[in-house]
């Protein structure tokens, strides 16, 4: 791991200005991606994972807007604000223009694999045609060269008989095959970073396994870095090097993958792990997280997880913790945003436990309008992250 990260995100904030109020979908997250590693971005639906990853490419659409933070990629500023002369924030001069982002960064440097392979290919053109056009556009090859390259890429991602499949339409491909095509498309321009937005969520488990193996192989071969957005801790354990756990627009825990699983520091991560179905536990043994995730439009005071947290105490209602280094894993920091750790020193141990916090908050929230996504505590509903 080199010292200078490939991608550095600092205090990124993306908000949606809706009629009901400001939805703080991403609220000050910071993380790094180093060359050749797979970084997980984990959380329930609505935690802001997808919005965060789209913000990196400045692909957030109205009414959403990136309102603060800095995104640096290979020393270039993808997004950055500074104080203007009359006190307002303005875009920094070195920030890449929309045109530069579009032509140089999107597709060429940072590619995206989307969640639903059924929807991510244009149904009216052949698979090969789309792949070829993409290569032609981004790499400036001639049509014939691009065609050869496209067939090579299809072969590379394990599509049998690529010359023939090249001429077929997306609906003639199975879900797994389409996801392979999308991976081929993402890899086609040999980007340094691929944002994979829940790429295996829509696939069944056996196919998911194959795709993960494929990504693992290709990642080793090309040395591409990944940001892997998912809600599935099983997938995280399988392929990620480092993990960021998101809750309600914030990163609550940040650690190397083994650390996260064996030395969990945040109650939310703990709760996620305990709510995960495993072969050695029956459904009755599962411990779902109580309550539902509140709306990002009006987050709870203090620690945002406190209404659902089994460890919550009075102090959690008041103090809003920023992630701090709570442990050290072979030289890598293990950050968590929970005041129960000593580094915070806000009097957690002396603070009285919140009586009936979970029940009280949980029942109060049920009569508020909730998105259908938030009703699923384990968060295995695909799609619709953030406040779109």
């Amino acid at each position: 791991m080199s010292s200078e990260p490939l991608l550095r995100v600092e205090n990124l904030k993306t908000q949606f200005f809706t009629e009901a109020g400001t939805v703080r979908a991403v609220d000050g997250i910071s993380f790094e991606v180093y060359e050749g590693e797979i970084v997980g971005l984990v959380g329930e639906s609505g935690a802001g994972k997808s919005v965060a990853s789209m913000s990196l490419l400045r692909l957030v659409e109205r009414p959403g807007e990136i309102v603060a933070g800095e995104v640096t990629y290979k020393g270039e500023t993808l997004f950055g604000l500074e104080d203007g002369p009359n006190g307002d924030l303005r875009k920094r001069d070195e920030m890449l223009s929309n045109e530069e982002i579009r032509t140089r960064i999107r597709g060429n440097e940072i590619a995206v694999i989307f969640q639903d392979p059924m929807e991510s290919l244009n149904p009216v053109f052949t698979v090969g045609g789309q792949l070829r056009e993409f290569i032609e556009l981004n790499r400036g090859l001639s049509e014939d060269e691009a065609r050869r390259e496209a067939i090579d890429m299809l072969r590379e991602v394990g599509i049998p008989d690529p010359e023939q499949r090249y001429e077929e339409y997306p609906h003639q491909f199975s879900g797994g095959m389409r996801q392979r095509v999308l991976i081929a498309m993402a890899l086609a321009c040999e980007p340094s970073l691929i944002i994979a937005d829940e790429p295996t969520t829509a696939l069944d488990v056996t196919v998911e396994g194959q795709i993960l193996d494929l990504v693992d192989d290709l990642q080793k071969k090309y040395g591409t870095s990944f940001i892997w957005v998912t809600h599935d801790l099983g997938v995280v354990a399988e392929i990620c090097d480092r993990v960021n756990v998101m809750y309600l627009g914030e990163i609550v825990e940040q650690a190397p993958v083994d650390e996260l699983f064996y030395d969990t520091k945040h109650p939310y991560t703990q709760a996620l792990l305990e709510s995960m179905p495993r072969p050695d536990r029956t459904v009755a043994d599962l411990e779902p997280i109580e309550g539902v995730m509140p709306e990002a439009i009006n987050p709870p005071s203090g620690c945002r997880f406190h209404p659902r947290c089994p460890d919550a105490r009075a102090v959690c209602k008041r103090v809003h913790p920023e992630p701090k280094v709570v442990a050290d894993a072979d030289g890598e920091p293990h950050r968590a945003a929970c005041v129960k750790h000593d580094v915070f020193d806000v009097g957690y141990d002396e603070s009285p436990p919140l009586e009936g916090a979970v029940d009280g908050e949980g029942s109060r929230r049920t009569d508020e309008p909730q998105s259908e996504l938030a009703a699923n505590p384990a968060g295995d509903e695909p799609g619709g992250d953030g406040g779109e």
Partner: protein
């Protein structure tokens, strides 16, 4: 329909699964479906026949269909003779004796009273003695031209406006759609008449453009409503994430995926525009004499309703059959393009 059936069979063989809704798309499948559907097939036949007659009338500007035969005098020089009125060129070896009855633009009176059907004039002649059949055939190209061009104007304008408005949304959408709705609020016939008068008088060109413009709003609204759902698809997001420019996203991704309902509507619209332009010609705002346009023929013939009712019936029948053809075809196309309808 051996060809159609074999196409359909090979289509369903390669296309994965009978139950798979998405498998029922594609050009070949659509053609096969139309060939299977009796109504659509008849629509297709009528449209094909009308188009062939129109093409023939364009190619053979003398239109001496009966006397000179198919090979008489193909003149490509005046491809669209509705705009300038060609002078009569007698076929080789013939004198000018055929001129008034068969030359569709002749203006001198040959036979002052309309005559009934004879061997030489199967549909009779009109009040100036011109062969009525020739004029009906000649009128086909005017109608088809009018239908195609004005529908194309509406389709092209509506597609651009609707796609841009739907894709960008927000203020762009508001401005474009309010503009379009302003046009939409005015009854089309009034709009066209005002347009032609304002531009500079009755002329088939102005009628065609006016009808086209008057129907831009309808197309814009249809395509916009489709674009609103298509632009939320992941492949649009994927294209944006891949750095494709907006223009290409609209052209390559948004429009092709929003086009099926518009295509169906356009087919039906061809019939409607033919009818409207015929109405305009009847009112005197469309094709001008001596151009043999069906609507304009109706206009003249209504003065002879009592002496020869057939003069009104033939152009009316021609209009009816043509519009019916396009409507049947459009309906069939709609069913064929909708993968959820299974018969």
């Amino acid at each position: 329909m051996a060809v159609g059936e074999s196409q359909l069979e090979s289509g369903t063989d390669t296309v994965a699964d009978e139950d798979d809704v998405e498998a029922r798309v594609g050009w070949r499948y659509t053609v096969a479906r139309i060939k299977q559907d009796t109504t659509a097939r008849w629509g297709l036949y009528i449209v094909a026949a009308v188009l062939s007659i129109a093409v023939y009338a364009v190619v053979d500007s003398n239109l001496s269909l009966l006397t000179f035969g198919l090979l008489s005098d193909f003149t490509f020089a005046r491809l669209l003779p509705i705009f300038d009125h060609p002078t009569y060129i007698p076929p080789p070896g013939e004198g000018t004796q055929h001129m008034p009855p068969y030359f569709p633009l002749a203006e001198q009176s040959w036979n002052p009273l309309p005559a009934g059907g004879t061997l030489e004039h199967p549909l009779g002649t009109d009040h100036t003695g011109r062969d009525y059949f020739t004029r009906i055939v000649y009128g086909t190209q005017v109608s088809v031209f009018v239908g195609l061009v004005s529908t194309f104007i509406g389709l092209a304008g509506g597609t651009v406006i609707g796609a841009v408005a739907g894709y960008y949304g927000g203020r762009v959408d508001d401005v474009l759609m309010r503009l379009v709705e302003t046009v939409y609020a005015i009854p089309p016939l009034i709009l066209i008449i005002v347009f032609t008068v304002f531009i500079g008088g009755a002329n088939i060109w102005y009628a065609v453009i006016g009808v086209g413009v008057a129907f831009i709003p309808v197309f814009a609204r249809i395509i916009r409503s489709r674009v609103l759902s298509v632009r939320e698809m992941d492949y649009i997001e994927a294209a944006r994430a891949a750095g494709v420019r907006d223009r290409n996203i609209i052209m390559r991704h948004v429009v092709p995926n929003s086009f099926a309902p518009v295509l169906v509507y356009a087919t039906l619209q061809i019939g409607v525009t033919i009818l409207i332009v015929a109405g305009l010609s009847f009112l005197g705002y469309g094709a001008q004499p001596p151009t043999p346009d069906w609507g304009q023929m109706l206009n003249i013939s209504h003065g002879y309703m009592h002496s020869n009712v057939w003069l009104s019936i033939w152009p009316g029948l021609a209009i009816m059959i043509t519009i019916m053809g396009f409507n049947l075809f459009g309906d069939g196309l709609q069913d064929a393009l909708d993968p959820r309808i299974d018969d």
